[in-house]
Amino acid sequence: MFKKILIANRGEIAVRIIRSCRELGIRSVAVYSDADRGAMHVRYASEAYYIGPSPSRESYLDADKIIQVALQANVDAIHPGYGFLSENADFARRCSEVGIKFIGPSSEAITQMGDKITARQTMIAAGVPVVPGTQQSVSTPDDISKIAEEVGLPVMIKATAGGGGKGMRLVRDPKDLFSAVKMAQSEAMSSFGNDTVYIEKYIESPHHIEFQILADKQGNTVHLFERECSVQRRHQKVVEETPSPFITPELRERMGEAAIAAAKAVNYEGAGTIEFLVDAHRNFYFLEMNTRLQVEHPITERTTGVDIVKEQINIAAGKPLSFKQEEVFQFGHSIECRISAEDPFNNFMPSPGVVRHISEPNGLGIRTDGYVYEGYEIPMHYDPMISKVITWGRTRAEAIERMRRALYEYKITGVKTSTKFLERIMVNKNFREGTYDTHFIEKHSEELLTPCASEKSVSVDMAIIAAYIDYTNKMEKTALGDFTLTRTNDKWKEYALKKSVQRI
């Protein structure tokens, strides 16, 4: 087993990984940039080393520097967390070259899954369904109508060099096909300098559903069921839950098998996630594989009882999985909400700054994975996600109500956060009924994103009364000096005073 692991990451995920290291009796090594000297992962780790200036490029993405620190600290393995270097095949390869185990799949598997076209071809070969369409460029009218006919309308015209919605055209009517291709080509040319476009079937009302995979070196591959991640904003997940309220037991089984086949096709090792798109008719298509730990892994941990980080470490150390597929089952329902330092009512404007006060929810079925504390300054250099709240309930309804309570209790002051927005999702009718797809936030944007007018309620009036009393007390205190106030307001001090008088 490893004696020491370097965590090439920061924030909540670094803290979460160190927790599992502590339970396994493994020493943890944190790395930090200028902005993170006082960060929680540095405080919580057994060792910590400086790796450079605040911008990620010069610190958390600097593979040379991190490998140098790893050698200097004499670690056995590096855990990359998510983001940063976690899906960097070159980094994985260089770790193994210097004799340090990269906790994750081989660099070959990362490369194979990282390239969209290769991944698609590999999946087709493994018999995993992919979104119908073509990866070859289309240009002649004959080609276009032939392919559109094969996959069936509606179709999406996409630029191979595309991204961010540019060079994309949705076509529902055959007569719009040619003009749409022309438009997509010219847009792709002006945006990316490459006018290659291809055709893909358009998935209506898609659900984004992913399967958690664990695979050991001995060739055992299991899945830990699905996560429903359809509540997204600009392709960023906001709320995740498991089990999915959308899929049936029969579909779950078929998707689980496909996920295992997908992982086996690349000789996958470690923890990974197969993402699928599921259409309104419950047809599923391979989207991509994330060859790392996911942000939303805790909901799977909560319902299966498996510590995924621990499994990653065990697998990397060469141990076989300690359980078989038929021994894994889900108990109850779990939901995760991502809390970000941003203002949901002002176009999600980032809100870095100093945390004045924080009180986290607690109690049965609640887990918070965060890293900020009172007085901590959330840096402007990194991701706005500051915390995740994970709730569990015996039923979906209970998990939702518990999440509502947890969000009410979660108070982070000093920076703006997305908790109010998340609260509104928890009371949304479609969400509660489990009838939502990836268009959810867009569809309900008015309900979810309109700034709330200050309501008139007794509860608000109580806040006003407290403000009044606090302010007038402060004024009296300045006017009369401390003594009067302490005597009238602090019963404990009064008690202590009496006690000491009695003692005399």
Binding site: M349, M380, Y382, D383, A453, I464, I465
Partner: protein
């Protein structure tokens, strides 16, 4: 003593009618509340009203008259408006227009781009400056037609919140 308390965008008139130990009778916008109010820990008040229990957290804001106030279901920004702050407010009224001409950012960040130059004519909605924070870029647009009078920062600079960036005229 009556004072105005601004909570969100509501301004409430609050008047203390009677106070005896922890028992207080307070009028808020014409509604009279008889409450039992105790500071249970620093900045945290427990209020009992008609048998109902409320816990209110008061977190100091940016000035002595500013608070962040949390109740179980809600969080508010609160400002105490007494005679002094009312006077200051009335004096500052004249300068409201001038603040619109100065572009500032509500958050700390880094200047990515300044697509305008001093002396350039701009129309309302034109992007004046792009600030990046937390992996997101935000555009700041002209709020009025005018001329770029002064640019206070350079591309690549780190900026603090509320720092003047660009002045229009």
């Amino acid at each position: 003593m009556a004072i105005d308390i601004k909570i969100g965008d509501r301004e409430a008139n609050v008047r203390l009618i009677k106070k005896d130990g922890s028992k207080a009778t307070i009028d808020v916008d014409g509604i009279t509340y008889e409450v039992d109010i105790v500071m249970v820990e620093e900045g945290v008040y427990s209020i009992l009203h008609n048998g109902k229990s409320y816990s209110v957290e008061m977190i100091p804001g940016n000035g002595p008259k500013n608070y962040f106030v949390n109740t179980y279901t809600s969080a508010h920004e609160v400002e105490i408006i007494d005679a002094q702050s009312r006077y200051q407010k009335s004096r500052n009224k004249d300068s409201i227009e001038s603040t619109e001409k100065i572009i500032t950012t509500p958050m700390p960040g880094k200047v990515v781009r300044i697509p305008v130059a001093e002396g350039q004519k701009v129309t309302k909605g034109d992007t004046l400056i792009v600030i990046s924070a937390m992996k997101m870029e935000s555009d700041y647009n002209a709020t009025l037609d005018g001329i770029v009078k002064k640019i206070y920062v350079n591309e690549g600079d780190s900026v603090a919140n509320n720092q003047p960036l660009i002045e229009l005229e």
